[in-house]
């Protein structure tokens, strides 16, 4: 009897641990095994967007932002700078505000700036692009779910589909891009080898 009393807390702990385990394992993970072929097809759609000037211009593999549909180097000596927002005097926000400026035609969106150098996409093959996207040491420690969330809803990403006069949006409509991201995620977030 006395022995049972000592064992009771252990039993409760065991039950709690079991419940915790079940709760955590029964929550369906966002990434399932799925169909790798479907994921690869979705990635091909995603890749078309990421390679469009609207996205890759601010994901350079060097330290100079690109501009325009022809991705020419940014004028005025604009560079990456220590914090991906140009230098300490003239920053991206010196000219770029939170929205497009119809008067000066300067594009703008919240947190306008370059992606970190680790997320430079210029010159990458599809396989390298995929690996870069999934590498948590380079992608801001984002899981595939967080990556999809970022690419689906971040204000600066969404700007690509509302870039203002004289700038071509990505070749895939936003709803199709979001659907491709979801398909990619639900089918294992597979990237080309």
């Amino acid at each position: 009897m006395n022995n049972m009393r000592h064992k009771k807390p252990l039993l409760v702990l065991l039950i709690m641990a079991t419940v915790f385990f079940i709760c955590n394992t029964t929550e369906s993970p966002a990434i399932t095994e799925g169909d790798p072929q479907k994921a690869l097809e979705a990635f091909a759609t995603i890749s078309k967007v990421l390679r469009s000037p609207r996205c890759i211009n601010c994901h350079p593999s060097d330290n100079v932002p690109r501009v325009g549909d022809d991705s020419h180097e940014h004028l005025f000596g604009v560079v990456r700078g220590a914090a991906d927002h140009n230098g300490p005097v003239q920053k991206c926000a010196t000219c770029h505000q939170n929205e497009n400026n119809a008067y000066t035609r300067i594009p703008g969106a919240p947190h306008w700036g370059l992606a970190p150098i680790g997320m430079g996409w210029q010159g990458l093959s599809d396989a390298q692009l995929g690996q870069t996207l999934l590498d948590t040491s380079r992608n801001g420690n984002r899981s595939p779910e967080a990556l999809v969330e970022h690419m689906s809803h971040d204000a600066l990403v969404l700007w690509a589909w509302d870039p203002g006069e004289g700038r071509t949006p990505p070749p895939v409509p936003l709803d199709e891009f979001r659907a491709a991201l979801q398909t990619w995620l639900e089918n294992g977030a597979t990237v080309p080898e």
Binding site: L75, F76, G77, V78, V79, G87, P88, V89, Q90, K91, A93, T94, C95, Q97, N98, N101, A102, Y103, T104, R105, I106
Partner: protein
């Protein structure tokens, strides 16, 4: 739409279209004429002023974004009318302007520069200020910025 902000330390309220460039509010509503219209494309820098201490092209800055912020123009660069800002003093000593039109923008950029880089080299100046002067006063501007940095340092060390 009413927009409230501070300009050169003084609280103001302006009733204008929210998308009006801050440049025109400063010049036409608040009658501060140092800040100039140059290219109107945020390229030349003649319209440069400070918003919350950050260098800003006011021709490309809708006034609605100034709500609640501190705007500083060349008129408010020095703490009072008896005391010159190091940049103003250096500009006079080096006799920088020719036509003078672009100089306020350059001076606002220079003030931000010596705040961020207290002893700037020629390379620092060239890399961090992209304003344009069609009279070609850039060599004098570079000399003046270095002089302004010296004045700033001497003022700081004498405190």
């Amino acid at each position: 739409m009413k927009i409230n902000f501070k300009i050169n330390g003084k609280a103001v309220s302006v009733d204008v279209d929210a998308d009006t460039p801050l440049l025109w509010v400063v010049r036409d509503e608040l009658k501060l004429k140092a800040t100039k219209y140059g290219c109107g494309r945020a390229m030349c820098g003649a319209c440069s002023l400070h918003v919350d201490g950050e260098l800003t092209r006011s021709c490309s800055f809708p006034v609605k974004f100034a709500e609640g912020k501190e705007v500083t123009t060349l008129e408010g660069l020095s703490p009072n009318e008896e005391e010159l800002h190091p940049v103003q003093q250096a500009w006079m000593e080096e006799n920088v302007p020719q036509c003078g039109y672009c100089q306020p923008g350059f001076m606002m950029a220079a003030a931000k520069l010596i705040k961020e880089i207290d002893n700037p080299s020629t390379e620092d100046i060239k890399a961090n200020i992209s304003n344009i002067c069609r009279c070609g006063t850039h060599p004098r501007i570079i000399k003046a910025i270095k002089r302004a940095a010296q004045i700033q340092q001497s003022k700081t060390s004498s405190l």
